[in-house]
Symmetry: C4
Amino acid sequence: MGIYQHIKQEAYLANMQLPKLNLVLFTFGNVSAADRDRGVFAIKPSGVPYDKLTVEDMVIVDFDGITVEGKLRPSSDTQTHAVLYKHWEDISGIVHTHSTYATAWAQAQSDIPIFGTTHADHLTTDIPCAAPMGDEMISGNYEYETGFQILNHFKDLGLDYREVEMILVGNHAPFTWGKTAEKAVYNSAVLESVAQMALLTRQINPQAPKLKDALIKKHFERKHGPDSYYGQ
Amino acid sequence: MGIYQHIKQEAYLANMQLPKLNLVLFTFGNVSAADRDRGVFAIKPSGVPYDKLTVEDMVIVDFDGITVEGKLRPSSDTQTHAVLYKHWEDISGIVHTHSTYATAWAQAQSDIPIFGTTHADHLTTDIPCAAPMGDEMISGNYEYETGFQILNHFKDLGLDYREVEMILVGNHAPFTWGKTAEKAVYNSAVLESVAQMALLTRQINPQAPKLKDALIKKHFERKHGPDSYYGQ
Amino acid sequence: MGIYQHIKQEAYLANMQLPKLNLVLFTFGNVSAADRDRGVFAIKPSGVPYDKLTVEDMVIVDFDGITVEGKLRPSSDTQTHAVLYKHWEDISGIVHTHSTYATAWAQAQSDIPIFGTTHADHLTTDIPCAAPMGDEMISGNYEYETGFQILNHFKDLGLDYREVEMILVGNHAPFTWGKTAEKAVYNSAVLESVAQMALLTRQINPQAPKLKDALIKKHFERKHGPDSYYGQ
Amino acid sequence: MGIYQHIKQEAYLANMQLPKLNLVLFTFGNVSAADRDRGVFAIKPSGVPYDKLTVEDMVIVDFDGITVEGKLRPSSDTQTHAVLYKHWEDISGIVHTHSTYATAWAQAQSDIPIFGTTHADHLTTDIPCAAPMGDEMISGNYEYETGFQILNHFKDLGLDYREVEMILVGNHAPFTWGKTAEKAVYNSAVLESVAQMALLTRQINPQAPKLKDALIKKHFERKHGPDSYYGQ
């Protein structure tokens, strides 16, 4: 058993959740799990179908995006993961998918408005959508720049990545993260559900108002913060 | 076998129906089953995933919301269940979910219009949507007040909870109930289906008229009332 | 083995297809299979869940709607089936469901326009929607009158029930039929698919034109008529 | 083992993917696999249900549409396959389905706009929709003419069938192709997903802009071309 076996295992199990939760078609998604002490993360290899994936296929990469161990090429989105791990020290799991409803909002270049308590149970703001990058960033080190696009959008909006664990990259698709890979996958599924309900809400009532502050505060604090009383 | 075993079993089985009927994502739902003679109900513990849930995990709570038996913390929505059981003496099962279409109508703060016989087979009015609560109620004993928000909305509309076994809480999500936990789960699935068909009906014909009185009366009486002839 | 065993078996198998094809929630559907020589049909009993249904539960009813054999009460829609069998001599299977998209069109009181070849592979006209009945018909022998509402709508439109094997009953839901119960179930699934695609087509292009005559004729004749060349 | 066994096997396996990927209802789809050296392709027989299909049922047809081997009648769309194989020498797999969202766009007679990177990962242009054919072509050798309708639309738009591996035939449904039958099936699933997300994108933002050139170029080149770095 190698020293990276625990994050290979964690990344593998989290990756295998994506098809079960209907968040991916074919290979259009990837999950990574970080070992903060060793400064590395395990990530899905590029283009390998989920039904052929094994624990040993996971690739170990450091926070500068350099492959440390593994026979396969890591996910093409690896540099984005590396940038986020390097700058956001409290996360140890990242997920990227092209899940249907979240991707539709990203393609529409629109934030997802906070319409209900399902949303507020997880974050207190609209789900942000970063603008597409400038052309030089795209034609340069694209996936690396995608990481900075995310970091900068959070900085511009004054958002804390520990409180808002998801973003849409405009014209592209969602990224989510969390303290573990499992939590990051959970966030991807929540995002997809909230994205679907927000679209339906607008279809029922184009003037649907956002959730009011008292409800946002109450629901978020039920699940998070010092006085939370959700769960065991 | 304890004296609460029958309602623990009933609550467990009813809770396990929610994922099978696609009414919940993760732990976003809960069912309770009441024993009227003993003045208690069994309810899902808070935040426990459905695939880990056991009969013994069910928590026994009285109609004032005080836990009577159980090692785990009951659902965060327990006080809402308690209020409803205390005031509506003919119900012995309650369900809360964030099912996709019903929640979208709740987020849109809109009643679900009675458009067809599927709806009229179960109730003769629009499915009511209660307004979000005032800020003091929210920041106070929120789940307890949610119960009164439901009771008061029924009182304001002059609805009988024995005839209309479902409500949307504005910006939040649906609650349903019934003579048993199984019936309450059935009502949640009916509500979700009716909510989806009502949205589609409006998309096909924004001026779709409501069902006329004669059809409402006929379909409801086929399944309910003294001359019903549906079922065995 | 009784003399009705073959239609009990046929009706049972056809009924069991409804949940597999996602055409019913709970017991909201029923299929019958007729024996023309004996002048009877086998139909699902009322309100029995699909996972409890057995071949022996099927009820034998004649074309006047009188129960001939069976311990259970037949479907509440039995009189509608009887009327259709009595007047349309070339059909031996009937299905009623509340399938989501077809029911939404029925609730919208709208014919389903013929937008594409999937539709034209099965019929050459819009899928007709009969108006809701007059109040006296509803409060009278409702299910019996529903049969005549269907017969009369076909007469009014000059449609041949051998060519158009489906209808929407306004504010209610679809009925389909065919030479066998299996074919009637097939028609219910086709209707649901066509109903969904027609709604989506309008959402993409509110001015979408109907299929032109040459394509309607070609596709229908590929599958039907003297020069058909589809299938074996 | 006959000399066509390898393409019969390939066509069989590819056909069986269609129901697994939710791309067909009943028999509304077909896949073929070509052997370029022998100038033939194996194709699904007409109207045979997927759960009854066997490898030996596959029919061998040459590029002029003449059946070379097989007991069953080939798919009614066989002539379309033959025309495409004859004129597009670099493809060895073709798929035709009536998948829900792609067919809705075809019925709406609308190209699918390139709204995001999921689309650009696979092609750099809108997904083209060919107009319905003239009446004489329809009433003549319809399926043969459908092949030319596709060829001519690509010629008119200056598209390369090696880069754009999918088309919508107006009022009808999609065709996709590729170097193998498996790749053609993959393209059908991608098309369906892109078609659904494009509709949702427009519903969220009717003025959603198309993807900008730099992103189109980048994403396509990540997966294709000399500097691709996706996959193993």
